[in-house]
Amino acid sequence: MEESGVEIEQETAVDRELNLKGEVCPYTFVRSKLAMEEMEAGQVLRVVLDHLPAVSNVPKSLSLEGEEVLRVEQLNGTDWEVVVRKR
């Protein structure tokens, strides 16, 4: 049977959640960075944000720290998630 070619998105297991709604830059990055520092390599952090500049800045800045950004997605009208794996 041929494969349909439809990709099934794997649910990434999240090890830690960080709700930073209401927070602005650069606190959003500082909190995310501190959270990642407490995690083991391979673990995944999910950050929820509602400050638009942070949605760009946090993934970029975590990448600069050497972490692997898995996903940046809008959740609803105001909220976004940034999912990052610690290297």
Binding site: V24, C25, P26, Y27, T28, F29, V30, H51, P53, A54, S56, N57, V58, K60, S61, L64
Partner: protein, 277 residues
């Protein structure tokens, strides 16, 4: 420096003023005349944060006649690590109010003119026009370019300072004597260049040092003492503890101060990063 005919006050000081400023009056390159110029001086400090705190403190302590202070922000807890004008109990308060309280307590003789507003193309010429010297103690590019361009148009000396992480810069721009800010940095960073959050990091004493250098340069300009930093960019590297000196030259093709300027009106650039707010 101030040199407005008819407005010169007499060179008499009260006993209290002599007591307050005796350390400056004693200085060979200052003396009574220098102190008189400082007393007649009108300086605008744009920004009451990390750079503006030492600038304002030292100008007021030295007895500048009028200090204009412009800052639209409210005190936030993250400011207290470096913005020495503001204390824990000031959190939530407009910075100009918090600043004015400390500055006036330090020196009740100085007249403070506060502006709890943002500098824009609409107000810049009018506000800057009221002062003899301007100090750029702001933290964002739109304001920096507005201040520069307005100072070029109005021919006001401008003491520039900036900090990025562990590095600081200071120089003085005097229209007609050297470069302006745009000779060095012709345009602001493009909107697409989102800075990293790491760039918001700073050790409090670094802007403390840079702002203090700015205060010294502003006071020298007002008092007419020493040599200004026109044509020199001093770069401080805190981590390696070094000061380097770079030559800055006026660019004859500069868009605002060059031989054929193309910028003849003030520009309101868009603020694209919330880190500097």
């Amino acid at each position: 420096m101030t040199g407005r005919p008819g407005e010169r006050k007499t060179m008499s000081f009260t006993e209290e003023q002599i007591g307050r400023y005796d350390r400056q009056i004693l200085l060979p390159d200052m003396g009574r005349e220098g102190q008189e110029r400082i007393r007649n001086g009108r300086v605008l400090c744009v920004g009451a944060g990390g750079l503006g705190s030492p600038v304002a403190y030292y100008l007021v302590a030295a007895g500048v006649g009028v200090l204009g202070l412009m800052e639209m922000d409210v005190v936030d807890i993250s400011n207290l690590q470096r913005q020495l004008l503001h204390y824990t109990d000031d959190i939530g308060r407009p910075k100009v109010e918090s600043a004015a309280e400390k500055l006036q307590a330090l020196n009740p003789e100085v007249r403070l003119e506060t502006y709890a507003t943002r500098l824009t193309s609409e107000n810049a010429l009018e506000i800057i026009g009221r002062y003899d010297v301007v100090v750029d103690a702001c933290d964002n590019f739109p304001t920096r370019y507005l201040v520069n361009d307005a100072c070029v148009f109005l021919r006001k000396p401008l003491v520039h300072g900036s900090v990025l992480r562990f590095e600081g810069q200071v120089t003085t721009f005097v229209p007609g004597e050297g470069p302006c800010y745009r000779c060095v940095y012709p345009t602001p960073p493009a909107p697409g260049e989102i800075p990293s959050c790491q760039e918001a990091g700073v050790l409090g004493a670094v802007p403390g040092l840079v702002g203090s250098l700015q205060a010294v340069e502003a006071l020298k300009l007002v008092a007419g003492a020493g040599e200004s930093l026109v044509g020199r960019l001093v770069v401080y590297d805190a981590l390696e503890m070094s000061f380097r000196d770079f030559v800055l030259r006026r660019d004859p093709d500069c868009a605002v101060c060059g031989d054929n300027p193309t910028i003849r009106e003030l520009i309101d650039y868009e603020q694209f990063c919330s880190v500097a707010h």
